[in-house]
Amino acid sequence: MASENFDLIVIGGGPGGYVAAIRASQLGLKTAVVEREHLGGICLNWGCIPTKALLRTSDIYHLFQRAEEFGLKADNVRFDIEAIVKRSRKVAGRLSGGVGHLLKKNKVTVIDGEAKLEKGSQAPKVVVKGKDGESATYEAKHVILATGARARTIPAAGLEPDGKTIWTYKEAMVPETMPASILVIGSGAIGMEFASFYSTLGAKVTVVEMVDRILPAEDEEISQHAKKAFEKQGLKILTKAQVEKLETTKSGAKATIKVDGKSEAVEVEKVILAIGITGNVENLGLEELGVKIERGHVVADGYGATGVPGLYAIGDVTGAPWLAHKASHEGVICVEKIAGQDVHPMNKSNIPGCTYCHPQIASVGLTEAKAKEAGHEVRVGRFPFVGNGKAIALGEDQGLIKTVFDKKTGELLGAHMIGAEVTELIQGYVVARQLETTEAELMHTVFAHPTLSEMMHESVLDAYGRALHY
């Protein structure tokens, strides 16, 4: 039984945990991170980053298909799925190593193993079972849970991965062969990114969504736009549809899907489950400590406090939105609060969301419907890609930038985008919202020409009836 004392122990080395640890170390706290698998967590190893590597491949492949349009000759363009996956893994590996280096540079102790909490004096004790089966107990003044989340499954409906035919994101990221057909259950960001990747590389993809539109968290107009774009690419989209039964067959899987009251059987080679996320709250000793858990997630306040003295929780384990950047930011706020700094809880309405399918989707703040629901009288601006010079030059003239303002105060309530590179554009509006600019400052801002960002300006102008180029 080794024992060492820290100011702070962070459980989980994902984007919430490792960022919290670095910030804590910067603030002079003696800090350790416990990680059971890979530093960088799901994000770096099985999420954000490797999928972006895969999608880069499918984007390039897609452009090859359009070579002639750009005056290029490219014959016999093929792909090698093994090499695609290999590149994706290499990218993840490189970044995971980078996190290890950052932690070392910041003098954060990394403890390999699986953590479990026990009652302690100031904060719960952290018992870490190493890979060799040996346990060691660590004590700290503060403990942050950053254990993340995983794919939700519903075994009762057969919605449970078998690792071979029925996949979650994890298996979908490392295919051995290219499936001819895929059924994607769930049309959130994860579902649509895989649907886009596999469809571009030639698989016949069907997407099933329970509610009446895909990407249900986005603005309705964006959902509609996305649906049209995907259908044009050959995806089959079933909305208001529910998978009643899912079973594996010799050649793949057979799903019984209920659409409009009628049941329909779909046979596919692979199935990807993207039906939501659930927090990693098990086997941590949380129940014994009296940590409040609701719907699979730890309940924490705006500073991460769980109500159990010395125990905090941040990131995916505390619930939606399940985003790496939200986790990192919560980690920083939690640590700064612990260090006695004057901080405010994060403004959750100002967390941007990005989906890297083709076309890309990005948004921040309230949708038009949500804004009205909240009692705002709104002014809405729209600007289509087809009115932008740079977009046309890029050969990306499909898309839309939509802005929603409060009619009275001129507050930018939300921004919603679909089209090329919008995931890089959204930050402009996030900064504007954080600084609390009104339409006036945005109108007075000079946007460089020729850029896609000009559309952001035009969309604001349009909300006030002043768009110049459309």
Partner: protein
């Protein structure tokens, strides 16, 4: 370059103050820790100590100046080896930054473009709404916050919301980075009913139509008094603070009073005995004993020592007892911190010191802010009983009436006893009737059997 001496913030909420007088003059050598000036805020006079060492090069804000903004440069200090040329350099560099007044004006004219543009795009129907706004802004330029030299930091959205809500931004504290006033501050202020922007004579038509006067604002004119039959005493900082805090408390806090009679004879006896035997200079007052008794009662009934917040009831672990002290032009409530840990002699000498300095308006902010409970005693002025207004965010305040001989029934016979009536005003959001009653029933025996409070 010369060192700038800035107007200090004496409390977290201070935005401006009066530089009452300088204790040094130009050319004086000073060292760190020297008292160089006196500054008056809404509640206190405080001494400003030098932070750096050097020679006073130039005094930029004269003694007796009112409304000096926090962080305004009030004087320039020459460091060793520097001569007057450093002064010029410093002044020219301050004037190279846009001079404060111009900066404010520049900002004004810039923002006033915005509504014009807005009305252009919003169409005719909006124009009417914009008129008072613009007029308000024009008259506002002579208002507070404009003559000081520190820039008002606020987000564009906060400015616009304040403008629309008729809120004077210079009365707010910003919670954003570096004190920037942001949306949440304005929202909170609008919810709390913070002071409205001064909009007197906003537009000619407003003057001729008093019915349109700004809601919540009371003008002298609205009293319809005959000219020459009154005089107007300007509101000083303390009066404004009392008006704002008491109005907010009486409006927003659900008050209710509980009163009981307490027999004082044994307490008076004990007090005489204590003072007879006390060393030179120690003289315990009835009030000192009440402070101690209240502190003990608060600790015995912890749920009564509490403050209401929307996030939860705050239970205080110590009894920080605030005592209302009447002073010229108002009152102030110095606080005996952790009173439950202090004996009568300690409470007595601390209270004496605090009250004396309160009358000179020389309390430090931390000496009159905070407090978990208040006592207001008007007994010495012959008041029989009264119910005070809660001193937010405290949950209770005890109003103490005069001790007087009254006929009482003891053992079924009429007797004479010295009695006083105390009234406990409670914030019902945090202290329910039964909790208040519990507090009083803990307090009563401590006073009626005062030996117990010596323990």
């Amino acid at each position: 370059m010369a060192i700038e001496i800035l107007m200090p913030a004496l409390s977290p909420t201070m935005e401006e103050g009066t530089l009452s007088r300088w204790l040094v003059k130009e050319g004086d050598e000073i060292k760190s820790g020297d008292v160089i000036a006196e500054i008056e805020t809404d509640k206190a006079t405080m001494e400003v100590e030098a932070v750096d060492e050097g020679r006073i090069g130039k005094i930029l804000v004269e003694g007796g100046s009112e409304g000096v903004k926090v962080n305004a440069v009030i004087a320039l200090l020459l460091e060793e080896g520097e001569d007057e040329s450093a002064l010029k350099e410093a002044q020219s560099s301050t004037s190279q930054k846009p001079p404060p007044d111009n900066e404010v004006k520049g900002k004004e004219s810039k923002t006033s473009e915005t509504p014009a543009e807005r009305s252009e795009s919003r169409g005719q129907e909006q124009d009417e709404d914009e008129v008072p706004d613009r007029a308000k802004r024009a008259s506002g330029s002579s208002d507070k916050g404009r003559n000081g030299s520190s820039r008002l930091k606020a987000s564009p959205l906060a400015k616009r919301m304040a403008e629309q809500g008729g809120l004077d931004l210079s009365t707010l504290d910003g919670s954003g980075p570096n004190g920037r006033i942001v949306k949440r501050d304005v929202e909170a202020a609008l919810k709390d009913g913070a002071p409205k922007a001064a909009t007197k004579d906003a537009a000619p038509e407003t003057k001729s139509a008093p019915a349109k006067a700004e809601p919540g604002k009371i003008s002298v004119e609205s009293l319809h008094l005959e000219e020459g039959t009154y005089e107007v005493v300007p509101l000083d900082g303390m009066r404004k603070t009392i008006a704002r805090r008491m109005t907010a408390s009486f409006r927003d806090v659900p008050h209710f009073p509980l009163n009981i009679d307490i027999e004082l004879d044994r307490l008076l006896e004990l007090r005489s005995e204590l003072n007879r035997k006390a060393p030179e200079g120690v003289k315990v007052s009835v009030n000192d004993m009440l402070i101690r008794a209240c502190a003990l009662a608060l600790i015995r009934v912890p749920e009564s020592n509490a403050s209401y917040t929307d996030e939860g009831l705050v239970l205080h672990k110590h009894a920080d007892v605030a005592v209302a002290v009447a002073i010229d032009g108002g009152l102030i409530t110095p606080v005996i911190k952790k009173a439950e840990t202090k004996g009568l002699a300690a409470i007595s000498s601390e209270m004496k010191d605090l009250a004396a300095r309160a009358r000179e308006r020389k309390l430090k902010p931390e000496e009159f802010q905070g407090g978990t409970f208040s006592i207001s005693n008007l007994g010495m002025m012959g008041i029989k009983s009264f119910a005070s207004i809660i001193n937010e965010p405290q949950g209770m305040i005890l109003s103490v009436g005069a001790g007087e001989k009254r006929p009482v029934v003891k053992n079924d016979a009429l007797a004479i006893a010295t009695m006083m009536t105390v009234t406990l005003t409670c914030d019902h959001r945090v202290v329910d009737g039964s909790v208040g009653a519990k507090f009083l029933s803990a307090l009563k025996p401590l006073i009626e059997d005062p030996v117990t409070m010596l323990l």
